[in-house]
C-alpha cells in the first residue's frame, strides 16, 4: 500500500496551503473594513454643522457664507446646541481662523470640516455732498443696503422728492425736513437724486451709508464622539 502512505505528506501540504490562504484572506478583509471605518457619525455631524452654520438662513450669517462679525463673537456653547441640534451629545469645537469660538469637551482627533467664509461688518460713513443747481444728485462711493438721509433745507426751499436710481424712495408735497431711512439695492451702485425748489447750500443734506467691510476667514468645525 504505497499510495496510502504518499497521501500523508500531501495532506500536510494541503492543510498548510489552505491555512495560509485563510490567513491572507482575513488580513485582506480586515484591511478593507479598517479603510471603511471613518467614524461616520462624527463626519455626518461635522459636515451638517458646517453646512448649517454657513447657510443663508443660519442665525450667524448675513447671507450665504458671509458671517456677521458681531453675532459670531457672541456665539457660545448653549446657543450653538440650541440652534444646531445636530451636535447634541457630541464633543465639538468651532474655530474662526485661529480663534476658538466655542469648544465643548475634547474634540482633538475628531473629524474636521473647513469652510471658506467672509466675516462682514457694517460701519456708518457720513457724506456731505455739495450741490450746484436745484436738481442735486449724489452717488454713493460704495454699495450699501440702506442709507440715512438728513435733509435740512434753508428757509424758503423745499425738497419734495428723493430718488434712488430713478426710483422714488421719499416723497412729501409739503417738503422733506428731517432724517429719513431709505432702502437701497445691494447689487447696484446707487445715485440719489433730490428734487429741490432752489439750489441747496452745502451742509443742508447729509447722507450716512453703511458699506460692508469683509475679511476672509476659514471656519473650522471639529466633531468628536
Amino acid at each position: 500500500m504505497r499510495r496510502a502512505q504518499a497521501n500523508l505528506p500531501a495532506l500536510v501540504v494541503a492543510l498548510l496551503v489552505v491555512s495560509t490562504a485563510i490567513g491572507m484572506s482575513l488580513a485582506l478583509a480586515d484591511g478593507a473594513f479598517a479603510g471603511a471605518t471613518r467614524s461616520p457619525g462624527d463626519r455626518r455631524a461635522a459636515v451638517a454643522l458646517s453646512e448649517r452654520l454657513v447657510s443663508a438662513d443660519s442665525p450667524v450669517t448675513v447671507r450665504k457664507n458671509v458671517l456677521n462679525r458681531t453675532i459670531v463673537a457672541r456665539l457660545n456653547a448653549s446657543s450653538l446646541r440650541r440652534g444646531f441640534p445636530v451636535v447634541a451629545g457630541h464633543d465639538f469645537s468651532v474655530r474662526l481662523g485661529n480663534r476658538t469660538l466655542v469648544s465643548v469637551g475634547d474634540s482633538t482627533g475628531g473629524v474636521t470640516m473647513r469652510r471658506i467664509v467672509l466675516v462682514a461688518q457694517r460701519q456708518p460713513v457720513e457724506l456731505t455732498p455739495r450741490f450746484t443747481g436745484p436738481n442735486a444728485t449724489v452717488t454713493l462711493p460704495r454699495r450699501s443696503r440702506r442709507a440715512d438721509l438728513t435733509i435740512h433745507p434753508p428757509a424758503g426751499t423745499t425738497v419734495r422728492t428723493v430718488r434712488a436710481n430713478g426710483r422714488v424712495v421719499r416723497y412729501d408735497p409739503a417738503g422733506l425736513d428731517g432724517t429719513y431711512r431709505v432702502r437701497l439695492a445691494r447689487l447696484e451702485t446707487t445715485t440719489l437724486a433730490l428734487n429741490a425748489s432752489a439750489s441747496l447750500p452745502a451742509g443742508s443734506v447729509t447722507v450716512t451709508y453703511y458699506p460692508e467691510r469683509t475679511t476672509k476667514a476659514t471656519l473650522v468645525v471639529t466633531v468628536d464622539g
Binding site: 504505497r2 504518499a6 497521501n7 500531501a10 495532506l11 501540504v13 494541503a14 492543510l15 496551503v17 489552505v18 490562504a21 485563510i22 491572507m24 484572506s25 485582506l28 478583509a29 478593507a32 473594513f33 479603510g35 471603511a36 471613518r38 459636515v47 458646517s50 453646512e51 454657513v54 447671507r63 450665504k64 457664507n65 458671509v66 470640516m113 473647513r114 469652510r115 471658506i116 467664509v117 467672509l118 454699495r143 447689487l187 447696484e188 476672509k216 476659514t218
Partner: protein, 134 residues
C-alpha cells in the same frame, strides 16, 4: 501504479483556496472605500463660488462672477484680478482652475489627484471651479 497522479487532497485544497478567495474578493470589493477627501474639496469649491457670486464687481455688473463672464473684453481685463482674489480666498494648501465661457484662469489641473468641483450658472454661461490640494 506509481503514475504522477495529483493527490485528491491537494486538488481539494486548491478548490478550497478558490472558494476562500472568492469570499475575500466579496469583502474587498463590496465594502465602501474611504472617500478620497472630495467632500472637503467640493465644499471649498462651492464656498469659493458663493463668495465670488456675492462680491461686488470691480467695475460693472451685479457681482464679480457676472462681471468676469460678461464679455471677452471684461474677462481679459479682470482675469488677473480674479486670479489674485481666488488665491486670497482659498486656503494656502489649495490650487484652483476656473473655466468661464471666455477662457480659463488658474493653474493646470493635474491628473490622478482628488479634485473638488462646482458649476455655477451665470447669465452669460456656466462657470466651473476646480480645486485640489497642492
Amino acid at each position: 501504479m506509481g503514475r504522477a497522479q495529483l493527490s485528491t487532497t491537494v486538488v481539494e485544497a486548491a478548490v478550497g483556496i478558490l472558494l476562500i478567495f472568492a469570499v475575500t474578493t466579496g469583502f474587498v470589493l463590496a465594502v465602501p472605500h474611504a472617500t478620497d477627501g472630495t467632500t472637503q474639496l467640493d465644499a471649498y469649491a462651492r464656498d469659493a463660488a458663493t463668495v465670488l457670486a456675492n462680491e461686488p464687481p470691480r467695475h460693472h455688473g451685479a457681482t464679480r462672477l457676472d462681471e468676469v463672464t460678461a464679455s471677452n473684453a471684461s474677462f481679459v481685463r479682470e482675469r488677473a484680478a480674479l486670479r489674485r482674489r481666488v488665491d486670497r480666498i482659498l486656503p494656502d494648501n489649495l490650487l484652483f482652475r476656473i473655466r468661464t465661457p471666455y477662457g480659463d484662469v488658474g493653474y493646470a489641473r493635474p491628473a490622478g489627484v482628488p479634485v473638488g468641483v462646482v458649476r455655477v450658472a451665470t447669465a452669460h454661461g456656466e462657470v466651473t471651479i476646480w480645486v485640489w490640494y497642492v
